[in-house]
């Protein structure tokens, strides 16, 4: 019979959380700090005895370090690791056979498989010299080889082992900006993007910039992902909580935020920013667009920086909710660079890719003055750059291979209805006059003419629409959605190239 550790753990966590809230007091830390500043008298070079106890003890550590807490990997996890060891050395020592780590969003440690295409590209970028060998084509898919070449061409000297630009490789930022634009429908500037070792360092950077002293406050949702409380504590600021409403599915009410803002101001706190986690961690709620608009309006009015943690943007599980980025919402309200200061965080650790161990992510920074931007760059430059593999992965995540349907819709003169059922796509193609004339000259129906040329150029087999019947003067072809997932990118690439050449040749 198994008893899950987490059941006990949840109670334990609640109790320890409450204990933490009660016991954390800066005065406690203050007195320890004061008692440890021992001023050392002038040393005598002949005396060999040290003048006081070791320099670095818990009592003399930076009190901000002592103050901060991070429950996700706190005490419970240490106990779990011990229990795991006990199970290994002494099977049957507990009433359960295994430890189930449900404490952390770490999908691949629990069996989720990485996306093959991404790993192929990363492997090739890690070892580019094999791209020159023909045998490599037997091991890697054609589209991953192509994508790897594309990426390597954006890296000076194809040197994936070199420090890059401190904001990240320019070409990869271009890709990410394009991906943001495709997602939101509003332009993104690659110079606004800072690639980081996961989203967390980017959050720390912003806290460092925003917090001057404990008189600076950051509004955080309660419950929140404890990175925020830890980071604020580390940087010596004050967390100003606003409570999400559990009764309404963890709803975010701007009236509540306003209330907390005013209360903080009354205490002499200058509130600098508002953190919103959407989709929410730990709550899992997805904000409604009108809610987001209210938040944007609020931040604009109160002069707050909006820190939008959007790392779960690809994790939305209910059909009635959709992810909208705060950038998109702001821009669709007509608010630009001059209206709202917004930092959007994204990561490769979540979504369907779950690449936690790679430490890839970025922040998109908009609505700040040039001098502030310079300072952000400066801070980024002290760490030189984030890891290159993570940078590549971030660009892949923001520009994944397209579905067939997306691909068709992106081609000149082709429109494609969504496949709601069955197994087919039936895109419509506007064939230019020249092509129709060329088909007639070959005594072929125009859509068959297209399909035949496509087959001869690419090996892709479609069925001309005339085989199914269509409104006279319109042309279609039928394509199944059955090819293996890993073959689709190659199909899309070849089809796109063929279509471009076809249109170049026959365009009116």
């Amino acid at each position: 019979m198994r008893r899950f550790v987490i059941g006990r753990g949840r109670n334990f966590l609640n109790r320890s959380h409450q204990q933490n809230l009660l016991s954390s007091s800066s005065s406690h830390c203050q007195s320890r700090f004061l008692s440890s500043t021992s001023v050392i008298d002038s040393p005598s070079s002949s005396s060999m005895a040290p003048t006081s106890s070791p320099a670095i003890t818990v009592d003399s550590l930076n009190p901000k370090v002592l103050k901060c807490e991070y429950a996700v990997r706190g005490e419970i996890v240490s106990i779990a690791q011990r229990l795991q060891q006990e199970l290994q050395t002494n099977p049957g020592s507990h009433s359960f056979d295994e430890i189930l780590y449900c404490n952390i969003g770490n999908p691949q440690s629990l069996g989720q498989q990485p996306i093959t295409f991404f790993r192929e590209v990363l492997a090739l970028c890690d070892h580019p010299s094999i791209l020159d060998r023909s045998e490599t084509q037997g091991l890697f898919s054609a589209d991953s080889i192509e994508r790897a070449w594309q990426i390597l061409d954006q890296i000076p000297g194809r040197a994936t082992g070199a420090y890059s630009h401190s904001q990240g490789i320019k070409g990869l930022r271009d890709t990410i900006a394009a991906g943001i634009e495709a997602r939101d429908g509003f332009p993104a500037d690659p110079n606004d993007i800072f690639l980081t070792d996961g989203a967390s360092p980017a959050v720390h950077m912003m806290m460092q910039l925003l917090i001057r002293s404990e008189n600076d406050g950051i509004l955080c949702p309660i419950p929140q992902y404890p990175l925020y409380s830890a980071s604020i504590a580390l940087h010596g600021g004050t967390l100003v909580p606003y409570y999400l409403d559990e009764a309404t599915g963890w709803g975010l009410e701007t009236s509540e935020v306003k209330k907390q803002l005013e209360a903080a101001k009354a205490k002499g706190i200058t509130v600098r920013a508002l953190v919103v986690i959407n989709p929410g961690n730990p709550t899992g709620q997805v904000l409604a667009e009108e809610n987001q608009r209210a938040i944007v309006e609020f931040c604009k009015k109160e002069g707050l920086v909006l820190l939008a943690d959007e790392v779960y943007q690809e994790n939305v599980y209910v059909p009635e909710k959709k992810f909208h980025s705060f950038k998109k919402v702001s821009r669709s309200m007509g608010y630009g660079e001059k209206d709202i200061s917004l930092v959007s965080f994204q990561s490769v650790s979540k979504g369907y890719y779950g690449e936690c161990g790679k430490r890839g992510g970025y922040m998109e920074v908009t609505g700040f003055s040039a001098e502030v931007r310079e300072q952000i760059y400066k801070v980024a430059s002290v760490n030189l750059c984030s890891n290159i593999s993570g940078q590549i992965l971030a660009s892949l995540v923001m520009s994944p291979p397209k579905t067939l349907e997306d691909a068709f819709n992106s081609l000149e003169g082709i429109t494609c209805n969504k496949a709601e059922g069955a197994m087919y796509l039936f895109p419509r193609i506007q064939l230019p006059e020249k092509a129709i004339k060329a088909a007639e000259a070959e005594k072929t129906v125009p859509d068959a003419f297209y399909c035949r040329r496509l087959l001869n150029a690419t090996g892709i087999v479609l069925v001309p629409g005339s085989g199914f019947g269509q409104v006279p003067g319109t042309w279609h072809f039928r394509c199944t959605i059955l090819p293996q997932e890993d073959k689709i990118p190659a199909i899309v690439t070849r089809l796109t190239d063929f279509h471009k050449n076809f249109m170049d040749k026959f365009r009116n």
Binding site: F33, S38, V39, I40, S42, M48, T51, P54, A55, I56, T57, L61, V65, C68, V72, R73, N106, S109, P114, R119, L122, A123, D126, S129, I130, R133, T136, G157, A159, G161, A162, S164, D197, G198, S200, P201, Q208, L209, A230, S231, R272, K301, V305, S341, S349, C356, G357, G367, F368, S369, E371, V372, Q375, K378, S381, V382, N383, C385, N387, S389
Partner: protein
Amino acid sequence: MAPKALDYESMNENVKKVQYAVRGELYLRASELQKEGKKIIFTNVGNPHALGQRPLTFPRQVVALCQAPFLLDDPNVGIVFPADAIARAKHYLSLTSGGLGAYSDSRGIPGVRKEVAEFIERRDGYPSDPELIFLTDGASKGVMQTLNCVIRGEGDGVVLLFHTTWKRQQIGVLIINDLQQSVAQARSKGITVRAMVIINPGNPTGQCLSEANLREILRFCYQENLVLLGDEVYQQNIYQDERPFVSSKKVLMDMGLPFSKEVQLVSFHTVSKGYWGECGQRGGYFEMTNIPPKTVDEIYKIASIALSPNVPAQIFMGLMVNPLKPGDISYEQFVRESKGILESLRRRARMMTDGFNSCRNVVCNFTEGAMYSFPQIRLPPKAIEAAKRAGKVPDVFYCLRLLEATGISTVPGSGFGQKEGIFHLRTTILPAEEDMPAIMESFKKFNDEFMEQYEDYRGYSRM
């Protein structure tokens, strides 16, 4: 509309105070010029692969296989990857808790930390505890974390061992005198001196500290109750045989009681330097000695907020500390590649030093280690005046002129700290060997013309 929450005035002052010259004014100007089409030789940062150094083959093979473990099941994998790379990939994957895509232990994969401990033990001859070794996203992150723990506020001071043009025999005494003076001065201003940083081999000076030097430094830390931060990232980059690398830990342990149990030490290493040069991976570690368990717990807590260091770099670290052995299939190639790089670095160190010493008003110590050359540029008074007029620090002025004239992008000595009135620049010894002669010639031409332009010839007849 309410004023913006974050503008330059309302920013954290500490951020404004930060300077990082390596990617500062000179680098930004060089990047601008590069965009305009000028050929730039970036010698501002120790970034070997950016200057043509090839990555070592074996580690790249192993990590590529770890990235794409499905390859291991492919019957054709042996055609492209050697058997020992395949075996190593399997070994490292078995040490992870779900492959490269899972957060590891916040301190790093236990199996890799064990390999690091074994490396340290082999190198120093003293046991090393994997529990006191934390892997980090580059050594820099480890340094930041440690300083963050040590520095409570602006009342805390950290001693940095500055380079000076020491005469070799006098070093021991000179260092300690200088240090004692600095510490006393700081204390008289009410600063609590908490830690000392040494970089060995030195950056930017390249000087390798002798065992005697290290003993003096450790004794000093013991007396003055300072934690020693030993940045040893260049330990593989040694270009002379008189002073091989010896770690601070080894010297400390050799000193025996009470030092070996009392002096607190944090040592840093990386995959970015040496002959590996894998800067872009961001892989490093620090080892703690004589740090109390509760403090280690706090440092672990801080590490856990970042969840884990990146896993691919941890594997690079494992491979670096646990190298191939004679008999391994890839051993010969590995040794050939490594030796090739190290021997070339040694030659380039010599070429650069000699090249600088042949220039007017330039004096350059030999690069004993690390990756840099740090020539002293004796700027004539007229040049210093011209710099003032241009609103620039004199060595910045010189380096900007050098950049505009030759495309060589260096870091002015003021970015590293130097004695008042003495100017240097730092360049790396990393440009390709075949490019070196042309680069040194280009520098000499610029420098000698610059000196000609600014030297005062009043009262001297020109030949």
